[in-house]
Symmetry: C2
Subunit: 287 residues, 2 copies
């Protein structure tokens, strides 16, 4: 998905928010914002929003002299999500359709997104909302079917804390599809995206092979990833791609990719063709 003009104010807001999380003083905050204005002024044609965010957050980290501005919120949201884990597991276990329920639980976790704002809505209320939300069952059934015949699945993680909700789906797949999972996190910190440390804190190594993209770009842009990850990505018979940034980079990556997300911004809502707040399972188009 291309970067719309509507995304420009969002990048400025996001950079300022990240600079403050990094403890930057007023002068540094100002350098960050002016730097982002310059960066947006000179944007190359066709850059996707995650590619722009990649540059924006590299600028913030460099100006603020902080390697991981979101470290504290990643830790606290992971802790909050882990506190819900027993209830989430029980929810799936007692469901008439554990696979569908686990998919919804994983999508519920996508509400933890500091790219969108600085407040995370109540997690349990979000689970209840997402469980009750309308969902395109056609694409959900296509995913169920694709997993039936797959020897493994590549799961592209999004945010720390959301990882715990993903773990519920990964653990469920072991029962419903007996399919091994490669769980891919970012190669370095960007926004509140999960890294290996965040996946470990959420307990993913106990149920999946954790790999990383070799890159600190949000979303999944194969050209920005390591050769090892590209090989892993190309080899995957099914790819589960979590969150808006993965949708933005992979919505046209072909039918083996399934995007699972909550729609949190009007630009993506328009692209997907659903209202803001929607819960989406969407098989990717062409390729």
């Amino acid at each position: 998905m291309r970067t719309y003009l509507d995304c420009y104010p969002c990048f400025v807001r996001q950079a300022l928010s990240a600079a403050r999380m990094a403890g930057a003083d007023d002068g540094v905050q100002r350098r960050v914002v002016l730097g982002v204005l310059d960066l947006l002024r000179a944007l190359p044609d066709g850059a996707t929003p995650p590619e722009v965010a990649y540059r924006v957050h590299a600028l913030v980290r460099a100006e603020a002299g902080h390697g991981d501005p979101y470290a504290a919120v990643k830790e606290s949201t992971t802790r909050a999500a882990l506190a819900l884990l027993p209830r989430l597991t029980e929810l799936v276990a007692s469901s008439a359709d554990p696979f569908a329920t686990a998919v919804r639980v994983s999508i519920a976790g996508n509400v933890i997104d500091f790219g969108v704002g600085e407040e995370v809505p109540d997690l349990w209320a979000t689970v209840e909302r997402v469980l009750a939300a309308p969902l395109d069952t056609r694409d959900l059934e296509l995913l169920r079917g694709a997993l039936d015949g797959a020897d493994h699945v590549l799961f592209l993680a999004d945010n720390a804390g959301e990882t715990v909700f993903d773990r519920v789906l990964v653990e469920t797949l072991a029962t419903t599809h007996a399919v091994p999972v490669r769980y891919a996190v970012k190669g370095g910190p960007v926004l509140n995206d999960a890294t290996r440390d965040d996946a470990a804190a959420a307990g993913l190594p106990g149920c999946a092979t954790v790999v990383d993209t070799g890159s600190d770009a949000p979303g999944t842009t194969p050209d920005l990833c390591s050769p090892e990850f590209r090989a892993c990505y190309e080899a995957a018979p099914v790819v589960v791609a979590k969150g808006q940034a993965n949708y933005e980079t992979l919505s046209e990556a072909g039918p083996r990719v399934f995007c699972l997300l909550q729609v949190k911004c009007p630009v993506i809502a328009r692209d997907v063709g659903v209202p803001v707040g929607s819960v989406v399972v969407r098989q990717s188009g062409p390729r």
Copy 2:
């Protein structure tokens, strides 16, 4: 009030929204956004948000070749407000404290603000919310007292449509204080701020002397206004200043100025020292 870094994304969003209201095509929208990035990059120290908005919206009108991008929403919100006028008048007439109720009604109208977003909340629900909201009665009583001894009052209008709610207060003042009102609108279109035409559409000429600032700057920055208006402003024993932009330009303009507004953004909330959503009557500081 100075322009905070938090205001930068808001200006970009506002400019894009205005360009679209003006019917600008993708190319023009892009020129507008890049122009605003340049403008923000080169901002002089100490510019208030309304001074920046003045430049931003002049740029939009020039690039889009449209003299009044908000003409349609100004007309429709005025119409919607006029439909409520009988109920608003009855509300004040049946109140135990018509002055206080009319002040709240006027503040309720401040919800019509296309600088903040593109949707206007339900007007009647807003009236009920503002009537029930906590309000600093100390400053309300200071305003009541100042009006008691005044030979006239200068009312600085904010937005079209809000004008109808102001009319209720202006008509009430004729009864409660027998004080003549000069109702000041903008000298030309900017955002959805009221001009002479908008005041006329709301029926203000029937109850007040309508004057204009001689300027199309939002808020009230005397240096940007006509000499006639500056004289009118200097001569006023009491000034009622509506909305965020007037607060941003006049919050330190001295104790004869009373700002009446709804707080719709976190930056102003921090400056006033109240939560977003607050209903405010605030006597201005020093001078």
